[in-house]
Symmetry: C2
Subunit: 207 residues, 2 copies
């Protein structure tokens, strides 16, 4: 973790690894991950191909790290936004607003191409889905907190545990995002999120 106490060799190695990471990051922003070869990464990074495989087990392993870091960043964005919402809103309002924010970030910050690739990566055995799918992901915790508070306030049905409800809501957003990835550009992510949530939230509210 600490940058200190590295001898020259270790510094050199860390530098090489970082150069690969940064070069890959830039290239992946330019084009689809599948269209970026390891050769092009090492060329951009100014290191050899053999070096690449010393620092990363495979191309997929590098992509995994990039995704993991990026998901972490995104979840911080969500958290920051959530804190900025005034607390005296209804639970359903908060969920709706957060959902809209998520749709915005997916569509505008991350973008369709990257999202599409991310979803595809879930189907590649070489890349673990853990960073995005883990129930320990910050996103699940956020929804869980909102929902358990909603149950406490009597705004949300209490016959299903908040963690389960959270997983259903996130699953739904994922379903809509999946649909968006495929139907793009004939599909408005934000709009469809709102419409679908309207139905789903009626199903989790107190009737």
């Amino acid at each position: 973790m600490s940058k200190k106490k590295l001898n020259k060799r270790q510094k050199q190695a860390a530098e090489t690894k970082m150069k690969i990471y940064e070069a890959a990051k830039e290239l992946f922003l330019e084009k689809d991950v599948d269209d970026v070869s390891v050769d092009s990464i090492v060329k951009k990074a100014g290191v050899s191909k053999g070096s690449f495989y010393v620092h990363y087990e495979s191309k997929a392993a590098l992509v995994y790290v990039l995704i993991k870091d990026y998901v972490g960043e995104i979840d911080m964005d969500y958290k920051t936004y959530l804190k900025s919402i005034s607390q005296d809103r209804s639970t359903l309002d908060i969920i709706t607003l957060l959902t809209e924010k998520i749709a915005d970030i997916l569509a505008n910050k991350i973008g369709h191409d990257n999202m599409k690739w991310l979803y595809k990566s879930h189907f590649l055995s070489s890349i673990s889905s853990e960073p995005t799918m883990s129930y320990n992901r910050e996103l699940y915790k956020m929804f869980d907190e909102i929902l358990s508070e909603g149950i406490r306030k009597g705004e949300i049905r209490s016959d299903i545990p908040s963690t389960i409800l959270a997983s259903h809501l996130i699953l739904a957003i994922r379903g809509i995002t999946f649909e968006w990835c495929i139907r793009y550009p004939d599909y408005n992510l934000r709009e469809e999120c709102i419409k679908h949530m309207d139905i789903l939230l009626r199903g989790i509210g107190i009737q």
Copy 2:
């Protein structure tokens, strides 16, 4: 469409094409589509590689045809089942039953490996998602019919058109299936479909 009126050459060509189709079908049942090379298909079919590309533009084009045919078959299964359900059930019951049937077929008839590959194929630019995703797909029509009948009977909220509701329900099933593809085997498709539908159907019913 008709088998007649083919001269010797055309018969021969049709035979070759069919041999490729059948060989591919068998191989894809044995292993993941990505692990089946064109070379292995033509070897099994007993034709040359060049011949393959006379009949199919690409490996993806062949897979497309196989998927299209298979989706057609599956939709017929759904339809047959739907007809077998007694008509005097409530709309919500019918939808629940149909959803369970779909989950059964996906999990047991098609199976996890094939479903995973099918979902992955949506992210390959070489393979069109049209057979599964088209709103003209038989599945959408079936849900639409059930829902519009439900609206007519006053069991389903009437502020959203039945076609839109149908798309939301199918999207939800797709979302759960997606989750199942990734979380397998730690995820029970049938069970989760039922639980999610329970919430969603509360949201589309008359309150």
